[in-house]
């Protein structure tokens, strides 16, 4: 059982003793009762921290911002950042450590277990309590959520509103932490990679029809990229200009920059972007589900990344985000890696 008061106590202590320069956690948005990411710096602000099934954001994403901020400051505060993490978020931190993007001493991980449930899917929740203004969602003990709306409180079975990725979660407790609350439960109610299997059963043409219809909706807002902790490249494949330009860069160099994909949101370019992103995340995506949640036009993005995660496991025996000392998926190999597809 996760005790919120213990989290607030630890956060208060870390800030009071100056062990961290800030803590990134979840605060409540009074307008709709859901959690939002927040930054606290003073011990008294620790009372604003919350923990409930609407804490679906992956706060590891903000480690990227903290690194950029430190790089820009002349005399940066070198104390670590406190970070509230769920299981999936902690695995994202593991990947950042594997890639040496951050060092272990840069972050103090305040781990919270999702225990027997997980976080909600906002759209499923809206359907469960249609039209009623939300006040709060709480963990309700054995596999239930307590949802308070303007009309009162209802108990909803967690399975009805759980985010899809929670149904396939390999470990809904932080695998790495400096402080941990809650039981370590391993559960994947639907089975690992269960959502990929129906896709694999389709014919080639069915697969294509599905993905064309879905990726055609993309408006290239890049929310999927922006919300992902692993998409930390300052200059991305899809950026049309070179961010490493200086006054000395010649016009010819600028003109020669390869443009892999056009900005136009047409089918071929949308598909190119999403395929490249899935490949760049192979062996790095921990299925925190944020890309799919953030997408304003409801593209099932998890299905691209989950397939890569499944292949990493099936073909190469690779588990993503459990061990910071494991090399990246594509920077290692085994002699017995399959080559039946190679002539």
């Amino acid at each position: 059982m996760v005790k919120l008061e213990e989290l607030r106590k630890e956060a208060r202590r870390l800030l009071a003793e100056g062990e961290v320069r800030c803590i990134i956690g979840y605060l409540r948005n009074p307008a709709d009762g859901k959690a939002v990411p927040g930054f606290i710096r003073k011990p008294e602000e620790a009372d604003a921290l919350v923990w409930d099934p609407t804490c679906f954001h992956n706060l590891a994403r903000f480690l990227v911002d903290e690194k950029r901020r430190k790089a820009r400051e002349k005399n940066p505060d070198t104390r670590p950042v406190g970070l509230v993490v769920k299981g999936c978020d902690s695995r994202a931190v593991v990947v950042l450590l594997q890639e040496k993007f951050i060092e272990r001493g840069d972050v103090v991980l305040l781990g919270l277990s999702c225990e027997k449930t997980g976080v909600v899917d906002e759209r499923k929740l809206a359907k469960a309590v249609p039209g009623r203004a939300l006040r709060q969602v709480e963990f309700g003990g054995e596999e239930e959520f307590l949802v308070t709306t303007e009309d009162g409180q209802v108990r909803i079975p967690a399975g009805d509103v759980l985010a899809d990725r929670c149904l396939e979660c390999p470990a809904n407790f932080p695998v790495l932490s400096d402080w941990l609350q809650g039981e370590k439960t391993k559960r994947a109610p639907a089975g690992l990679f269960a959502s990929v299997e129906p896709f694999e059963a389709r014919s080639t043409e069915e697969k294509w029809d599905f993905w064309l219809t879905q990726l055609r909706k993309c408006v290239r807002c890049y929310a999927c990229r922006s919300v992902c902790p692993m998409c930390y490249c300052d200059e991305c494949v899809v950026d049309t200009i070179n961010l490493a330009v200086t006054p000395d860069t010649t016009a010819e160099e600028k003109a020669q920059k390869i443009r892999w994909v056009e900005k136009s949101p047409v089918d071929s370019e949308n598909i190119f972007y999403h395929l490249v992103r899935a490949l760049h995340l192979a062996g790095r995506c921990v299925d925190c589900g944020e890309c799919e949640r953030a997408c304003p036009v409801n593209i099932p993005l998890r299905q691209l990344n989950k397939k890569m995660e499944k292949e990493a496991k099936t073909l190469f025996g690779y588990d993503v985000g459990f061990d910071p000392d494991t090399p990246a998926l594509i920077s290692c190999f085994r002699d017995e890696d399959p080559q039946d597809f190679i002539r």
Partner: protein
């Protein structure tokens, strides 16, 4: 009279083995279909998935990546990385519904001119019935 469809194949060939193998085929006057646009790279391990996606985006009907046999890589293990990376590319392309014959990989050594010509002949035969690649292609 309709012209028979001739697939356009982009072949990424590693300089030390496969590209040399294709040269051997040429020098030995072996005949094989002219559908290939060969691109020499230093090592199959240096091939980014971007190259393959870009080839399809610009209209290639088929893409071949060919490198040294395991153990023979000029850079020791570049082809081992390629084996992993490109397996993932193949799986992803199949997952979105691109016909699996369109992207293929092979190990061709500098002495295997014959094998190279056979690979190209077979690839052309497999791609002809599929027709032009329109799924990933950029519309001009």
């Amino acid at each position: 009279m309709t012209e028979e469809f001739e697939p356009k194949i982009v072949a990424f060939l590693c300089k030390w083995c496969s590209s040399a193998g294709s040269d051997l085929a040429g020098v030995s006057r072996m005949e094989y279909p002219p559908n290939v646009v060969p691109i020499q790279v230093m090592c199959s391990g240096s091939i980014s998935p971007l190259y393959i996606l870009s080839a399809f985006n610009r209209g290639a009907d088929g893409v071949l990546v060919s490198g040294c046999h395991p153990g023979d890589c000029h850079y020791i293990k570049g082809n081992m990385y390629a084996r992993r990376k490109l397996a993932l590319v193949k799986k992803l392309l199949e997952h979105v519904g691109l016909e699996s014959q369109r992207f293929q990989m092979s190990w061709v050594s500098a002495a295997e001119g014959q094998k190279y010509t056979q690979i190209i002949k077979d690839l052309v035969q497999q791609l002809k019935p599929l027709g032009p690649q329109t799924k990933l292609r950029r519309i001009d």
